[in-house]
Amino acid sequence: MDSVNDDKPRIILNEFKIAQNIPTRATVLDQTFHIKTFKENLRIVVVRLDNLEMEFDLIGIHPFIANTFRRLMLSDVPSMAIEKVHIYNNTSIIQDEVLAHRLGLIPLKADARLFNTHVPDSEENEQDSLEFELKIKCTRIKDDNKDSSRIDDIYKNHSVYSKHIKWLPKGSQAENFKETDVGPVYDDILIAKLRPGHELDLKLIAMKSIGRDHAKFSPVATAFYRLLPDIKLTREVEGEAAERLQGCFSPGVIGLRHLKDGRTVAAVNNSRYDSSSRNVFRYDDLKDAVVMTKIQDHFIFSVESVGGMAPDVIFVEAVKILKEKCMSLLDELEQS
């Protein structure tokens, strides 16, 4: 299949090559970028949203815009993470530097928009840092219950979790933030394992930075986009072949319809969640029944937050950052 002759910009996934659909009229991708046409064509649809994940569609834009938004979310939106660890005592078996690195990777809930970026070589202050303390000592539980071999019955504090990290408010931070607004996102992140006599005494300092500096500052676990898959059946597929066709695609993509005359035929239910594998081309009798395409100006974004910021906020922040970058550059052009 070389062209499907409709008005959408598509790529057609063939067995050995990818073909470009020749649309019947000019599409967004044929037009050069212009702010007026951009406004006319842009459509945004939120598909799924909760505290951690968001899926939304950006429709009618050029790929370079989608890619910029993705890059901004990954490496330009600031967040807080533990940057400095003062180790007063560490007698556990985990080395100081490994421990410090592990602590750095713990996602923190603290709104980075309320903080300043720390100026290197200056003293930390309440505007640019958060201070935490991790003091824990493992001891043997002296108990009559000597028979037990359960670790919880023998040792106290044998596992250090992120819930043991205690926030030490600096200056007016105690008034400005609630205890619940600051600290690790999850309570059950295992940091180290201790045995009797082992002790940790650490001071942790969290700062604001961006993902380009270190991946721990990235507010997203992943942020990616893909093109909308569109699958069409060109002829009727029935019986055993229909079931085989169903198995060639991701679950839910192809459905089976039971007709009144007793036949079972395949139909496309929802091609959105297809993984675009080309399994169907393994069967010579099926490959002419399917046209697999992708819509080239329809981007499905998936944003997974690590928990510090809601995913919708991350996207808006990302766009704002691009805007601020451009504004500050414009200012500098004016001055020069």
């Binding site: 050069t32 970028f33 212009h34 702010i35 951009f38 406004k39 842009l42 945004i44 649809v45 939120v46 949203l49 939304f56 050029h62 370079f64 815009i65 890619n67 910029t68 890059r71 901004l72 490496s75 330009d76 380009r212 919708d312 996207f315 808006v316 766009v319 704002k320 691009l322 805007k323 970058k325 451009c326 504004m327 500050s328 550059l329 414009l330 500098e332 052009l333 020069s336």
Partner: protein, 106 residues
């Protein structure tokens, strides 16, 4: 802070210029290139990050007529407009999505 700097060109030549952006990379370079290369009077527009270890981006504009700096200014202004509109549209959609979700939950 990123600083736009003019490098190595004859200062009297306004048509073609290379701008050096500090602390910028492909994120800004590519959008700006795509936007500016669409303008009518622009003959050539390209960017490069000369070395991955240096956070510098070189941005070249060659004009058929007019000044290169005006094209850059127009490109940045267009990007600001694009961002504004995207945020506006996204927030509208978010409000209607949340309203819809509330309706289905009840």
């Amino acid at each position: 802070m990123p600083i736009a700097q003019l490098a190595g060109n004859d200062p009297s030549e306004e048509k073609s210029k290379t701008f050096v952006f500090h602390d910028e990379g492909h994120t800004l370079g590519n959008v700006l290139r795509c936007v500016i290369s669409n303008y009518n009077d622009v003959e050539f527009c390209g960017y490069t990050v000369p070395h991955p270890a240096e956070s510098k981006m070189h941005f070249r504009i060659q004009m058929r007529k007019g000044r290169a700096i005006d094209a850059l200014r127009r490109g940045l202004t267009d990007l600001v407009k694009m961002c504004d509109y995207t945020i506006e549209k996204f927030n509208d959609e978010l409000i209607s999505f949340k309203a819809k979700q509330l309706n289905t939950d009840n």
